[in-house]
Each structure stands twice: as C-alpha cells, then as structure tokens.
Symmetry: none
C-alpha cells in the first residue's frame, strides 16, 4: 500500500464517517430538532462515540451546518428535470400533484421548518440557505424566461422574478399548511394549485 493509497483511503474513510454522522443527525434532528438532539443521541445513532465525532466536525454547529448544506439542494433537481422538457410551463402545471405531495411529506417539512427557524437566527445557516436559493432562482429564472418568450409572454426580469417568488412561496408555504391543517384535502389543493400556476405561468 502506497502512501497515496493510504491517504486516499483515509479521505474516503473520513468522508464515509462524516456521512455516517450526518445520516444519524438527520434521524435525530427530525425526532428532536436541532437543539433538542444531544450529541449523545447523535453519537449513539451514528454508532460512534461522542468524542470521536469531534474528529470529523468542529462541534454541533458544524454538524448542523453540514446537515443543512446537504438538505438544501432538493429544488435544483426539479429544475434540472424541468429544463429538459419541451414545454416546462405546462410540465409544471401537470406535475403539480406530485410536487404538492412532496411538500406535504411530514418527514420533510419538519426538518425544513427546523432549518428555516435556525436560519432566522444563525447567519451561517442563513447564508447557506440563501446561496442555495439564489442558485435555484437562477436556474428557474432562465427556464421561465426562455419558456415565456417561446409562448410570447412578457419576460422582463421583474415579471419573471415576481412569478418565480410567488411559485416558490406557494410550494414552501404548502409545507406550513401541512402543519396547520393536517387533514387538508390534497386533491382539492392540487386543483387550486394548478389554477394558480396556470395563471402565473401563462399570463
């Protein structure tokens, strides 16, 4: 075994250890929240001693930060998918049912809320969030602009960004609805989402 291989192995091992911790953290954070989850709880879930975690993370805040980073790129996947469609606008309307349902998944919005509220107080987390959101907006903006031009619709920055923020608000707000109104009628919401989306995208 050469030194290079050793190092490579070390790095790989380290990455795998970090992943191990972050996976455990996901479970604990979902169960107890960022503040409610103790390092002891995380270390047990990670199958690793509490002390050892400090070889891979500077502290609990660093775990939260890394965890947030990993959980923030979900929207980009939707964008990439959208980009490759012939008619992204119609696709958005058509795929609304699936997207609404995704945002109603309790496993998801619990952690989303945790992240949001942490971000509202922790500038480092807020920065991560904003950066990811800016990237997602950038992707969405390009898709939207191009598609609206193809449909001969107004595509100035203000209009496009207004549409975009509103759509984002709708979907992110949907997670909050799950919290407020647990028995809501998903099908009815989907129908209304499609009405709103059709207007926002095609007007």
């Amino acid at each position: 075994m050469t030194i290079t291989e050793k190092k490579h192995g070390d790095q790989e091992r380290a990455l795998s250890r970090r992943k191990q911790v972050l996976d455990a953290a996901a479970i604990c954070f979902a169960r107890s929240g960022f503040h409610g989850a103790s390092m002891a709880e995380i270390s047990k879930a990670a199958g690793m001693s509490a002390g050892h975690i400090y070889n891979y993370f500077d502290g609990k805040d660093a775990i939260i930060g890394a965890f947030v980073e990993r959980n923030v790129e979900r929207v980009s996947a939707i964008m990439r998918d959208l980009e490759q469609r012939d008619d992204p606008l119609q696709t958005m309307v058509d795929d609304a049912p699936q997207h609404v349902r995704e945002n109603l998944d309790p496993a998801l919005w619990g952690l989303q809320l945790e992240i949001f509220s942490e971000a509202s107080r922790n500038p480092a987390i807020a920065a991560v969030l904003r950066q990811a959101d800016a990237a997602a907006r950038g992707e969405f903006r390009a898709i939207l602009k191009k598609a609206r031009l193809q449909h001969a619709l107004a595509a100035d920055d203000a209009t496009v960004d207004g549409r975009l923020e509103t759509i984002f608000a709708m979907y992110q707000g949907m997670s909050l609805r799950a919290l407020h109104s647990p028995e809501l009628d998903v099908a009815a919401v989907v129908a209304s989402f499609q009405v709103a989306l059709a207007a926002l995208l095609f007007k």
Copy 2:
C-alpha cells in the same frame, strides 16, 4: 380605597406584568429563539427578577404558549375586515400589496418561523396553532363561499377549501421567501400575487 378598587388594581397590575413579560419575551425570542432565550435573559429584558416571573407564568412553556396565542390572531382581523366588504374577492386582490408587505416584515416572520418549528415538535403549541388556523379557515370559508355564489362560481366545499389552502400557503410561504431571498422585488411579487389571487378567487 375600597377592596374592589384594590383587587381591580391588582388584577390590572398582574395583567400588566404578564404583558411586560410577554413583550420582553417577544424581543428575546426574536433574538435567540424559544430555546435559546433563557429565563434570565427574559427576566432582564422584562426588568423583573427571574423568580418573579413564576408568579405570573407556570414556567417557560407557559410563556411560549401565551406568546404564541397572542401572535396567532392576526389573520382573524383580516377576515373580519373582509367580511364587511361589498366584494370581498376583489378586496383581497386589491389589498394584496398591503398583505404581502405585512408578511415580509422581518420582525414578524422571524417569530412566525420560531412558532412553526416549535409547533412541529411541541403538541401543545401545535394545538394552539391548529385551533387558530381552523378558526381562520372557518371564517374565510364562509366569506369565500358566499362571495363565490354571488359571482355565480363553483362553491362546493372541495373547491372552496382548495382555494383557501392555496391562498394561505401563498401568504405564509411569503414569509419564508423573505428569509431566502431578502432583496426580493416586492412590487413584482405583489403583481404576481394579484395574478394568482385573481385566478384562484374568480375561477
């Protein structure tokens, strides 16, 4: 001074003390979050010893609960206003600018997020939230139904509730947008909100 006057004064004093604590808590909660804010911090902000707070609240949870209750009735005011309008649907579209701006107020959404994330783990808080939301939905549902019938629009429960949940999602989601995208173009968002609202309300 009669006993009645004395007692009356006592009750007033007690209420004023509770308010004093809740006002201080608002500041501390906004700064540090529900869990980050210590009783010492709150007591200092309230100009009162930590121990004394326990004469007015059973504990920190009770403060959080009372605080949430006080912050949860905002929507009802809008509903009551809406109810007295000739054309509530058009009013909603016309008043969108003001409502959007309200939900973007940083002082507001920081605490809203805190409340939401607390509710996602604390059943007592979730119950307060859901009750208030159910009340707001009830009021909104009645307004919407009546107004849509007057406009000869579909007003079955599923349709009305779908519209209602979507509109709530938009507005509550707007608070999240302020967090993610602090420099967003409010005017552009308002314009898009009006497009979406017009569709949701009049279709």
Copy 3:
C-alpha cells in the same frame, strides 16, 4: 381603653396569631414535612400573608422550633396521670393497650419522625427534645422508684433508669413499627407489650 389594656390586647393578639401559625404549621408539616412545607403553604393555611408571619416568628426555623416545643410534652401528661394511681406499675400494664394504640396513630408518628430526624441534625431542636425527655424521665424515675420500693423491688438508679429507658424505647419504637409493618396485629402486640412490661416493672 388604657394603654395597659391596649398592650394586653396586643399581647393576647400576638399569642393568638402565633397559635394560628403553629396550628397551620401542624397541618402543613404533617402533609409535607418540615422541609417540604413552604412558607407560602403555611401562610395560606394560616390565613395570613407570608410576610406577616415574620412579625411573629424570626423565620422558618423558629416556627419549627416553636412547633416542636408544643408537641413534645405529650409524655408528661401520662406521667402526671400515673403519679396519682395507687399502683402505678400495674396501671402501666393495664393501660398498655391504650398507650400502644396512641403510638400507632399515623397522624402522630409522622410528625414524631419528622421531629426526631430534624433533631438529629439541628442542635436547637435536639436541645428542646432532650430537655423535654429529661423532664419526662425525671417524673417517671420518681414514680418508678417509689413504686418499686413499695413492691420491695430493687430501686437503685441504674436499675430504675435501665427499666425506664427500655420502656421508653418500646413505646417510641412502636411508632417506627407502624411505619415498617402497617398491617401489624395490634392486639397481639399489646399482649406482648404487657408481658414485657410486667417483667420490666416487677422484676
């Protein structure tokens, strides 16, 4: 009303107030113990503000002390009764049933235990207890000595004091038995007590 009468009234009032507090303390101490009973609890039971109690007692310790003093003279009554009997020794044997039952009264031994354990740590309380006990021993010693001489039994100090301590131990120990063995057969115990007493008194 003269000044003397005023003062007299004041003193009487003060004594009545002290009694009021001590009566309340008796209830609270029985319910919660010396340490478990809070001044707030006592003041509520006394129908008096917490602060006002400090006009009559230097502090909680003083209440405990006064309470103990008041509860410590129970044995003397038995002695005085015994003193007037023709045959005190036989009376003790004959009255054993009643005395055993008294010491098994839960309302009694609960507070007795509280007093004992407080005394084991608080010298002031211990002193009160010892003084009262010494007085009781003195009375009992005299009775025992005289009676044994009449019965032509050994009545030297060592013998008399040994008998006396043993009898006291039996009765005070009986309170502890109620705690350890709540369903004990009182009649059987009484019979055995009489056997032991007969031996201790008449041998």
Copy 4:
C-alpha cells in the same frame, strides 16, 4: 486486553464509582440529611463532578434509594446468625449487649432516622423499607416459632408476631433513646433489655 476484560473492567469501575458516590452520600446524608445534602456537596465528597454522578444514578432520589437499600439489610445478617444457633432464644438474650450497643452507634441512628422520616413521606423509600422489614420478620418468625416449639411454648402466629414486633420496637426504639438521652447508662439498659427479652422469648 480482550473485550471481555475491558467490559469487565468497565463494570467493575462503574460499580466502584457507584460505591464511591454512596460512600460520599453516607457522609453527606449523615451531616445534612437527605434534603439538606446538595448534589454539589455529595459530588465534592465523592471527588467527582456533580454532572458525572448522573452517569451512575438517575438523580438524587435514585441515590437516596440506593443508599437506603444498602442500609437496610443489617437486620438480616443478625437473623442468619441466629438461625444457626442451637438455642436462638438464649442467644438473643446473651447477645443483647452487643445488639443494644450497635443500635446506639451515633453514626447509625442518625441515618436510620433520616431513612425513617424519608419513608414516612416518600412511597418508594417506604416500599424498600417495608419489603426489607417483611423479609426480616419472615426470617425471625420462622426462627422464633421453631425455637418456641422446642421449648414447648405457645407458638401460634399471633403470639409469635406480637413478640417479634415488640422486640423490633425495642431495638429500633433504642436508636431514638440515643437521640433523646445521650448520656444514658448502657449497661443498665442492657440489663433491662435482657429482662424484657427473657420474658418475651420464654413466656
């Protein structure tokens, strides 16, 4: 070092730590009582941080409980010794001096009182005490019954239990005598104890 050895060492260490805490607790409880002794005091006496104690005990109540359990089995040892004697009844009379002296040991009765008074208000402690006492009674009952039959004495349940409770009361009461009458004449008490015991056992 094998894992087994490691684990074994860990368990041993943990047991030794628990013992360390209980020994420290014994000192602090004797000095300040269960409630008077603070965790800080105990931790200092144990040479261990306050927080660390919670790795070995669930809380202060658990320490008290474990402490009581450890202090409750003293009587059983006497019973086991008694069981193996040819003439347990005579042995009891003969060994009275030693047993009396044990119950007069100040280090002992202080804590005994603490335990008793705690038990009078803490059901968990009372349960421990009663269970231990029931066991001791059971052992003593068997010994007494058998021995009395051998001596051709009445050995029905009521008689035996009455004797037994009375003897227990005498010895446990002796601890209280040490508190009330610190300068009592031990030899004289022993003599009287033997008179009483002889009567209780052989009549």
